[in-house]
Structures are given as structure tokens and as C-alpha cells.
């Protein structure tokens, strides 16, 4: 047996999985290179066995749970968006269908005199808007608040 024969057995010797025969022991006893290799392998074995096991931080589980909740919220948001889009598309299709049906039966005929409409907007609509400005402002405020509330609940993952 020579160094090349012994080389693949070094780690087995170090962790006790391999036992040498007489020829192997004779070579090891007389070869400084192989002895140094075995010593190195035993050092490695000793250090691997005694290495400190890193512990996760105390807040690790809480961090994972927050991550999972956020992930779930994002998935639900995608589903919500898809649902809302589908509902809107469905409503549009139904409205278009009703309109088309009414038009085909002759119940719906639209003729717009744009010049007259613009003129009416100038004279009548302006006056109406001025008289209703308080109501319009209140409605706008309420609508803004409702939209803000909706946005806040959608963006806050704790909901």
C-alpha cells in the first residue's frame, strides 16, 4: 500500500468508519505525509462536530408569520381584482345587451342637437350648478372620504 491507496481512506480513518489492515497500518506508521493527512482529517472531524449551531433570532417565527400574511393578502388582492373586473365586465355586457335589445325593438333612438345642447349648458346648467353648489361640494367630500377609507383598508395588510 502507498500514499495514493491510502488517500481515499483518510476521512474514513478519521471518523472511525474505516479500519486499516496490516499493510495499511504499516504504511501509515512509516509515512509522515499520510500521518499528517490523517491528523488534518481528525482536526476537521473534531471541529465539524464541535461547531456552534446558529440559533434563529427570537422574532424569527413572528417574521415568518408576517411574511405569510402579506403573501396571502397579496394573493387575495389579485383574486379580488380579478373578481371586480369580472363583475364590471359582466355588468357592462348586461347593459350593452339591454341597450342593444331596446335599440333593436325601436325603443331607443337618440338624436342630439349638439348646438342646442351646448347653448342650454351655457344658460341653464350654469345657473343650476350655482344654486346646487353646496350639495355638490358635500357629495364630493363624502365620496372622497369613502374612497380614502376604501384605499386605506385595501393597503393595510392587517385587514
Amino acid at each position: 500500500m502507498d500514499c495514493d491507496d491510502l488517500e481515499p481512506l483518510i476521512e474514513g480513518l478519521a471518523d472511525g468508519a474505516v479500519a486499516l489492515d496490516a499493510r495499511g497500518l504499516a504504511h501509515l506508521g512509516s509515512c509522515a505525509v499520510c500521518q499528517a493527512r490523517v491528523e488534518q482529517a481528525r482536526d476537521i472531524e473534531r471541529f465539524l462536530a464541535s461547531r456552534e449551531v446558529p440559533s434563529p433570532p427570537a422574532a424569527f417565527t413572528a417574521g415568518v408569520m408576517a411574511l405569510v400574511r402579506h403573501d396571502r393578502w397579496q394573493a387575495e388582492r389579485v383574486v379580488d381584482l380579478g373578481f371586480n373586473l369580472a363583475m364590471a365586465a359582466g355588468a357592462l355586457v348586461i347593459l350593452a345587451g339591454i341597450g342593444g335589445f331596446a335599440w333593436s325593438l325601436g325603443f331607443l333612438s337618440v338624436t342630439i342637437d349638439f348646438t342646442a345642447a351646448i347653448e342650454a349648458a351655457r344658460t341653464e346648467l350654469g345657473g343650476r350648478l350655482v344654486s346646487q353648489v353646496q350639495t355638490i361640494v358635500m357629495a364630493a367630500v363624502l365620496l372622497t372620504m369613502a374612497l380614502a377609507l376604501w384605499w386605506w383598508t385595501e393597503t393595510d395588510s392587517s385587514f
Binding site: A36, A41, I44, P54, S55
Partner: protein
Amino acid sequence: MRATETGAPATRTPRGGVAEHELIERCRQGDETAFRELVDQFKGLVFALTARSVPNRARAEELAQDVFLKVHRGLPYFRGDARLSTWIYRITVNVLSQERPELAAVSLDEIKPGEAEPRLKPVTHDRAFADLALKDRLDKAIQRLPIHYQVLVNGHYLKGLQYEELAEALNLPMGTVKTHLHRAKRQLRHLLETEFR
């Protein structure tokens, strides 16, 4: 639940058994407490594996959390063919491989030509200093190993990770694990004798 050859329900061991099956079912039903239990059960080993493979502790924590996020996403598709622990270790290996793709693609049998004739380590009479130096060199050398070897070396010396689990996690035959572990340590020794002298 698996059945025996006689058709009777297989008796589950406590490790991969009824408790584990129930835990998985509860997790699948969206029971947050159950998933918290699962994380608490496996976080030690998962974090130890990532922290030993990635030098940056904060990054190791992110990777360990990513493992559990993937576990959560994958639970509905987990068929139970392997033990839960094995499946989680497999995910850990995949996450580590994605983190360090250059080490994931390395052939496990690859030994660089220069490492064939290692030089002997220098003799030192200060044992404590030599030990400290060896520990530092060893940590660096381990992080240079292919990911599969890292998981073998890091996982084998953690309490609770069996040869069988390592074999399943790394998709290796049971008999091959010991051989690969010896090869991993041999490669470590070569690295210590050459690049990390």
C-alpha cells in the same frame, strides 16, 4: 393515510406520523397556529443550515424565512410521499442553490487538478492559536464547497438530521450519502491544504 399490504392503515411513528399528518391538514385549512407550530418545529435546523452556508446572518435569516414562505405556498400540493422534514430540507437546498448558483452547478465528483497533491499544513506549537485559525479556515472552506456538499457537511453534524433525511433531501441513494460525506470532507481537507493554508 398509507395502508399496509394487508390493507390496514399503517401505524405512523411519532416523527412522520399522525401528529405530522394532522399538523399538515390544519395548515392546509388555513390554521395559523398550526403553521406557527410547524415553523417553531423546523426553524432551528433550517436556520442552522442557511446560516452555516451564507456568511451574512441577516441574509441567512431572509433565506430561512423564504424557505418557510415556500413551504406555506407548497403545502396544498404536498402529497405526503416524503416526510415533512425531508420536503422542507429539499426546499432549503433549493433556496441555497438559488442563492449561490455557481456552487449548485458544480459536479460533486470534481476535484481540481491542483488539489491532487496537497501540501502539508505548517507545524505550529501554539495549539489554541492553531485551533482558532483552523476554525476560521474551515468556515471559509465550507462556504466554497458545492451546495450539496455544504448541506451534507452542515446537516450531518446538526442534531436531529439523519442520514436518511439527508439522502431524501438531496435525492441521493442512502448508501451514497456516507460516500459523498467522505468526499465532501476530503474536498475540505484539500481546500485547507491548498487555498486556505
